[in-house]
Symmetry: C2
Subunit: 474 residues, 2 copies
């Protein structure tokens, strides 16, 4: 284990040293399920899916917890506008999120807790912070509870800011606050909130603040101290700063290092705008492009680099992936199919070129890793040209393993419809069965012949006669 990564808290690269030998616990801030996910949302899911695959390949047992924020002002407002309950709105988009991540070949996390499912754990944390002098109920008796940022000397360390330079927290009426930067741990219910959207607390009915959710869920499922906290760069401040402050002020070591991925930008370099995002819904993008090409487009740049979205960029990615696939197809046809490493298996020796492992161990260096992938494919093609089968086979094994680590192997179990290229296999199997049926008829075993016809029907296949022989249709 020699994996190192850029720790956004320290601002430099550090070795990832597991707290428990052989295991890595990762908490990754998930989505607020208020709208259909676009590529900007889902880049994080892909980045952390690659991290998880790489650490697993490296022999670690990875626990990945990704929360679902299922209540907030936006969810309440949108649900009210649609005339459906907030929980139905949130659940609808939670399922859309699952569909989007599955469409891009991401494995489900180890666990995916919902914020509203952890009210007791959140109330305990608020009470602990009040007891320690780091939180206080709002002075105006509104029922809010705030974190006292001035009481915690570490506040600002994650995002490297002095309190005076920070944006004030706009999450509540400032009249009840000691300092405008104090943020809400608990938010009193508003008169027009639905009854299901608040819970009893020592300060009256209310709901948890956003930042509190993650502190409580990370603590519950990964423990007071865990290995790595991740999320999108836009969450570094205030969300992660506040999460870290809450947890550490409550006496929990929490996570280090922190890992933040950059955005998907529009061509002007802006964080994805609303208007552009509409054309970048995952559901739309995977209709227009091969989902594996979309994943390649998201995987190939360094996770800390901004990625600009354009159809051209995805098309370029698709061409890169096609070159790799072409080598795999060519080599498999000559040397026989090889099944690469997949999640849950022990990696085989000689499974990867050193350059790829070195790149991945160096802060998930995807650009160098992808360069190695193409080098290996080119070397494999040259070996095939030269009739050097042993060299070509090594390249085939390694290229497939690299693709698998990146979640790009075309038959990876995480791809929902692995087997778009199964059509020729179905062709072959159907003609073999039809020959069997002919043979059964020839020996006057009509029961067997009928049974074969029924099998095809049961599989949803219909057979049609065509000039060049029978054709199947679904």
């Amino acid at each position: 284990m020699s994996f190192s990564l850029h720790d956004s808290a320290l601002g430099r690269q550090v070795d990832l040293v597991p707290l428990v030998t052989g295991k890595i616990s990762v908490y990754c801030c998930g989505l607020t399920v208020q709208a259909a996910p676009h590529l900007g949302h889902i880049r994080k899911e892909v980045v952390f899916d690659v991290l998880r695959r790489w650490l697993t390949f490296s022999g670690l047992e990875v626990t990945l917890v990704v929360n679902v924020t299922d209540i907030d002002d936006k969810i309440l407002a949108k649900a009210a506008a649609e005339g459906r309950p907030w929980f139905a709105h949130a659940y609808f988009y939670e399922r859309q999120l699952h569909r989007a991540t599955a469409a891009l070949g991401c494995l489900p996390p180890t666990y995916e807790p919902r914020a509203t499912g952890h009210i007791p754990e959140q109330l305990e944390l608020v009470q602990e912070l009040i007891a320690r002098g780091h939180a206080y109920p709002a002075a105006d008796h509104s029922g809010d509870v705030y974190f006292d940022v001035r009481s915690w000397p570490g506040y600002g360390q994650l995002s490297h800011q002095r309190i005076a330079d920070m944006e004030p927290a706009l999450d509540a009426d400032p009249r009840g606050k000691r300092d405008p930067h104090d943020f809400a741990l608990w938010k009193a219910a508003k008169p027009d909130d639905p009854a299901t959207a608040s819970w009893a607390s020592p300060w009256g009915r209310g709901r948890p603040g956003w930042h509190l959710e993650c502190s409580a869920m990370a603590g519950k499922y990964l423990g007071d101290a865990f290995d790595l906290h991740g999320g999108g760069l836009d969450l570094k401040f205030p969300h992660h700063e506040n999460e870290r402050a809450q947890s550490q002020a409550a006496g929990r070591p929490f996570a280090h290092p922190w890992m933040h991925n950059a955005f998907v930008t529009d061509p002007s370099g802006e964080k994805m705008s609303k208007s552009l995002a509409n054309g970048m819904l995952v559901s739309e993008v995977v209709r227009r492009f091969d989902p594996r090409a979309v994943r390649y487009y998201l995987v190939a740049p360094h996770y800390r680099s901004m990625v600009e979205f354009s159809d051209q960029a995805v098309a370029t990615a698709a061409a890169g992936l096609a070159r790799l696939d072409a080598f795999v197809d060519r080599a498999s046809a000559r040397l026989g199919a090889v099944r690469p490493w997949t999640m849950g298996e022990a990696p085989a020796p000689q499974a990867l070129p050193a350059g790829f492992a070195r790149a991945m161990d160096d802060d998930l260096g995807a650009p160098a890793a992808i360069a190695q992938l193409h080098d290996s494919a080119r070397a494999g093609n040259r070996a095939l040209d030269a009739g050097d089968d042993p060299t070509a086979l090594t390249a085939l094994v390694q290229v497939q393993n690299m693709l698998s680590v990146l979640g790009l192997w075309k038959l990876d179990p995480a791809w929902p419809a692995a087997g778009g290229d199964l059509e020729p296999v179905v062709d072959g199997l159907v003609s073999a069965l039809l020959e069997q049926r002919q043979a059964a008829r020839a020996r006057r075993d009509f029961a067997a012949a009928d049974q074969l016809r029924d099998r095809l029907t049961a599989l949803g296949l219909t057979i049609e006669d065509a000039p060049d022989g029978p054709r199947w249709k679904r």
Copy 2:
């Protein structure tokens, strides 16, 4: 609205009269996510998906809440045996459940709350029951809290039993109970329970009893009174009897009527046995058969009739569905494709034959509804034979709408990747060919057997023996 159904509480058919005009609220007991779902589990999901589609088609706004029981003794024991956290175990099978229901064309429910996400609501209910004299902490100070069945005159009304005739509740040490039939509302944590599997309560750390979960979640999301409570027949006693007693003893009207679906049995008429269930995992069955045929097999019998599972029964269902599809294909080819009603749209006039609507309104009478479906297809085929296009078009529209109401239309949005994934087809074709090979050997035609093996090899497939039968690999 003239829908009536068999109320299992009253033991007779009643009209379903919405509490709020135009809306229907349904709570349906979901799965304990401890293992991969088999057809016996999933029949309920299919039955209530049809109910929801039919009520929606009838112009009602349906809210369907289906819980996930994500903690219980089995989950804790299995997770411990596997060496993974209980929440990871539960979440893994929650996702398997989603995959199984999606594979059978079921729409996600309106909401799917998890039991462990509702501790405050459950504690409130226990306290209300204690305050009203219907519950008490265990006399042996174990930390359990029990429902006092003798204190509630309605206990036994749902399952039509006298307390003296009931099985005692085996959920705790009987020494702390007033009556052996008293059941646990709250279960004290055991010394070897993981810390994450218990919550603070006035009676010490513990977790909710199974029955309590559903009372609390139904009350939260559907209100103190709602329209319909459903579930599998095996839940009628004790689960639903206890749920109803808890809620009503706490002053909540709860649901009426109650709707219970029958089991999928093995050929001996037993509720699906463990050994048989292994061959009936949804993931396996949809590999061996067209998933639409599997749904047809589950949908066609009356929901209150036991369904016997056999390959032959599914094959017969597949043949029935194929006849309907053949009419749709033939009529579409002649008259042009017609898009049927789907969920979320207003039904068109003349959309269904009266016989189908009558059958569905009469306690979801699937056998009569399916008979009408085939009558319409036959009439449509006759009209096509006779060149009577207007009659054939009416039949096409109506047949497709009937298929859509039953969730069987082949392009229904609930079907995943309609047509993309060929793996299940390859599975089915390979097993058919392997059977041919066996049969060739049995009749000592070894040349034919070898030839079949060579065909598979030539297609790049290798066959491996697995405990549940041969598997192919590329």
